[in-house]
Each structure stands twice: as C-alpha cells, then as structure tokens.
Amino acid sequence: MLEIRDLHATVEGKEILRGISLTVNKGEVHAIMGPNGSGKSTLAKILAGHPAYEVTKGEVLFEGRNLLELAPDERAREGIFLAFQYPVEVPGVSNAQFMRLAYNEKRKHHEEEELDPLEFKDLLAERAKVVEMDAGLMSRSVNEGFSGGEKKRNEILQMAVLEPKLAVLDETDSGLDIDALRIVSDGVNQLRTPENAIVLVTHYQRLLNYIVPDFVHVLYKGRIVRSGGKELALELEAKGYDWIKDEVGNQQSAISA
C-alpha cells in the first residue's frame, strides 16, 4: 500500500529525514518510535503533504502512485489520514459542519451521493460511539477550547468518519487519561480491517498493548535505525534509547574510519 524509498527531506534548509525506507502493506500496523526530535512527525506530515517540508531525494508510492505529486487534499480524498500530534483549532467553524464537508468531499471524489446535514447527523452520531465522543463537542468550533484529550479523541472521530486506507496517528496516545487511552485504542481497533493500514507514532509501549503492531521501527536522527516485531517496543521500554544511539554511533564511526 505504502512504499517509502530512501526519503530525504528538509525544513527551512535543515535536513531532517536522511534516507527513510519503509513498506506498509494493507492489514498491517506499524509503530514508529524514537527520541524527541528524531523526525517522526516530519515523516507523518510529509506523508500528508505539509507544504513546509521539502523532499530532496527518494520517493513515496501509495497504491503504486507517486504520492508526492498529489496536493494534501487529493491525498486525503485518496485515503490518507493524519491524526495530528497537535490538532489545529479552527474558530467559527462547527465540528459537525467541518466533518460533513470533509465527508462529502470524499464522497464526491468517489462519485457517491453527498449527505445532507440531517443524514450526516445520524452517521456522525453512530461514528461518535466508536470513540465515545460527547455530542456537545460536535456543535462547538473545531478543536477550539477542547482539552488535550478531547482533541485527540476528535482526531480519531474524524478517522472514523473518513475511513482512510492509511491512517498515520501521531502520538494520539499522549494527553489521554488511562480510560480514554483504552477507549480510543478500542476505537482504532474497531476501525482496523484487512484492507487498511495504520502507522502509529508513539513513545509508549502502553499503547501497543492495546493496538498490537506487526512491526516496530526506531527512528533516530532521520533514519530508521532498527526494525523488529512488537518485542522491540518492550526492549525499548526496558532499556531506553541509549544502546541504540551507541550502536548507531559505532556503526557511523566504523563507516568513517
């Protein structure tokens, strides 16, 4: 479904991603972990098409198509979804209205009937159950004044409405209380199908107890320095990142020697 080959990217002239390769097949869950500032969100935003990041080398294929030549809105309509690490507040635009417009844009794109506000209300109420979202948050402005946890929940609600093929969840677990983490994880699991795929960015093993990954990757200084199964996350939880940093350091000095 997704194939990233030797991806290099810069922001404001600074190189952040330095050769990432990753293949995600449908039905898979991949977890991406790594120290702060290693480039996880950068990778996520590049997949969504954020204009601030410049791809300087490499390619990204989504269902065999060159993803990088699509505008962000086209990518979304094709089935890519990014749950933001820091969801954006949109004053004056109601959450329900926003989601209906997004939903209908996708329907139109796939030459399906649009839903009117009443029809959509029913659909939204049904999807809200997936994340046990409070109905009061639907009529409020998008994310405006939402608590940290409410914002994260709202991201997954949007995922439930848009039913993407590939969802990239950037630290959706951070900011959620213990109960909310369980509810949101359950929600994500409900949305899993053999046809879609999920990339989870997280710092904590805890999330991976709920959403069990098929692969775990460690991103460090813009590269995937280690990949493994779900046990890798347990190992990181126990040992931290130092041993990986050391390994990488040794390899690099070996190369330069």
């Binding site: 809105d73 635009v93 417009l101 997004a102």
Partner: protein
Amino acid sequence: MMSQATKEKSQYRSAFEEFAKQIAQGEPLWAARLREGAMDRFEAKGFPTTDLEDWKYTNVAPIVRAAFRPASNKAGSPAQPEMIDPSIYTEAARSRLVFVNGVYSPELSSLEALPAGVVLADFATAFTGEHADLLRESVEQNAAHDEDAFAALNTAFLRDGAFLLIPKGVSVEAPILLLFISTSADPDVLSSPRVVVVAERDSAATIIESYSASGDAVYFTNAVVDISLGDNARVTHYKVQDESLRAFHVASTRAELGRGSAYNLTTITLGAQLSRHGIEVLFEQEGAECWVDGLYMVGTGQHADTHSLIDHRKAHCTSHQNYKGILDGKSRAVFNGRVFVHRDAQQTDAMQSNKNLLLSTEARVDTKPQLEIYADDVKCAHGATVGQLEEEELFYLASRGLHANLARNLLTYGFAEEIVDKIKIGSIKAQLDEAILNRLHARLEA
C-alpha cells in the same frame, strides 16, 4: 475659470431649485426653509477632501465628478412587486416601507403587522399627521449639527423619508423594514433617504434598514438616520448595505440613548464601489448600553469606510463594538473608531475591537481605534488586527480532503461567524451566509 468644486455646487444648486419647485405644494413652509438653509451650508462647506483628517483615506472625488440628479417621483416607471420581492425579508413582509430609486412607494409598502399606536409613515404623510411636531423637531435638530456636507446635502433634498414612532411601553414583535431599493430604471439618481425613529420610554422594536439594488446601475445614496431612545427603550437595528457594485453610498447613523436604554446595531456592508458609514452613539443619560457591531466584506474595485464615535457623556454606560472586515482582490477598507469618555462618565465600560482578514496581497485596510478618556474610574479596552488565513489551519482542512477553495471559504466564514451569529433574523443571516460563500464560490448548508 470656475474650479471643479464650484461647478459642482452650481450643478446641485440648479437641481435644488428645480426640486424646490417640484415639491412646493406638498411640503410645509418650515421644511422649505430648512432645505434652503441646508443648501447654503452645503455650498459653503463643499464636499470633503482628503486634506481633512476624517477623510484622509476616502477620496470622494468620483462622487463630486459624477452628475447625479435628485430623485424625482416623475422619473422612471413604477417598480413592479416582482422586482422588489427578493429584497423583502419575509419576517418583515407586513411591516415595511419601501422606497424605489429614492421615492416612497405606497403600493409596495405594508403596515398590517404593526400594533395600534405605532406610527410608520413616509414624510409627506407624517408632515400632516398628529406627530408632525415631533418629526419637525428631529429634523431641525439634526440640521443644527450637520457638520459635514453630505448631511447638509441630504437635508437640502429632504422629501422621501421614513418616520417611525414606537409609543411608550409598546413592544413591536415584527421587525420593521425600511427598504431602499435602486433599479436600473433610473440611473445616476441621487437618493436622499432620511429616517427618523423615536422609541419612547419602555418601548422595544427591531428595525431593518436595507439598501439593495436590482441591476448594476451607477447611483448615489446619501442617507441620514436619526434614532432616539427614551428611558429603558430597546432598539435592535440592522443596517444591510447591499447596493449595486457601481453605486456610491454615504450614510450617517446617529443614536441618542436615554437612561437605561439599550441600542443594538449590526451593520453589514457588502455593496457599493465607494461607501462611507458614519456612526454616532451618544449616551445622553446614565445606565445605557450599546452594541455597535459590523461586518464589511469587499472585493476588487470596492472601498468601504466606517467612522464611528461612541460618546460616553454620562456615567454607568457600557459600550461594545466589534467590527470585522474581509477584504479580497484589490479592495480597500477604512475603520476609524473613536470612543470618547467624558470627565463625568465614571464607571464607563467600553470595549472596541476591529479585526481584518486580507484574502489578497492587493487588499489594504487602514484601521485606527481611538480611545480618549477623561474620567478616571473606567474600564476600557480596544484593539485592532490585520491578518491573513492561517497556513496551519489551511493545511489541517486540506488534510481532511477539503479543496483549497473550500478550505479558504470555510476559514473566512469562521472569521465572520461571530457577527453572522449575532443576527437574529433568519433571512438576513441566510443572505449573509450566501454572500460570504458565493463571493468565494462555495456552498455550505449546515
């Protein structure tokens, strides 16, 4: 050789003399005298130039250059009801006065929904009615303080006006519509609407002052609106300026507030190539409150100027002012908001805000909030901003599949929402929704 300005003056002078002849039988002597005096004042003052601080950013030369003819009830064919239908707010279908190309139209007006005691009449009728003295007082008082040439010009051609009296203790349920509509049947007309509203103590009413056009004629609306609120009166006032995009619109709104009264004004500015709205809210007694809010939304070729004065003359009054501007294409807006707190106006609470959204790099806004405070125990705040759509918000919407245009429109709508949301009349709200989204080519029906 005659200067441009002098030439213009004599042009209005001859028009004035013709106008005077035309209406000689219909008007009372005092009105004729008043108009004569106003014409003299207009000529003495001349149209304002950009040398004047108050007109620094708004050049009225195009109005001076154009040759407008005063509205005449002889000109053009009478308007057909179908023509004005789209401009009638259904909530006010049976409580409306309609003026077409500056001339009162009894056929298109309807007073059925007004409760007994409420007077809503055109000037010709009101001049001979039992409240003629009240009307005369208001008009004369206005003439005494018409500082600028436009107000004097309005008085000089005073004829087609609306007089509204809400007697004490009466609440009018239906909103009252004063519709000034321009058709292409009478191009180059100078309309001089005058509105006098007297809301006696403990009364309540909603007024919709609406300027609209069928077609895209060039004409000039020069309006003066005077509202007085008695003690504890409550007046909600919507002004919707949706003139043709080639029209000129100059208007002044003046409200005098009695003790404990509440005046709630919302202005919507969409039309005209050049518009100027002067607003004065005068706290004449203690304990009154006003809201003076507005939205101006202009595109290429439009210039919209709002000048307001909130005059806190007495203690314990509260004013709220929230103006928002959306500028697209090569357009320009001016906001000048003065809040004046006199020495005796202790315990004043005054808030003023002007926010602008520039949708193009060619748009320009000059905003100047001004606070002048001479009392020491007051709470005042003001602020102005000029900004663009936020990149991160645009990306967020795009990442959910919204086309770039729709994302821009939605954010623009979000910017205006605070003002739209304040409007309690469904059909005005719908008109505004459509104006915001149509201008920006999108649809939104939630």
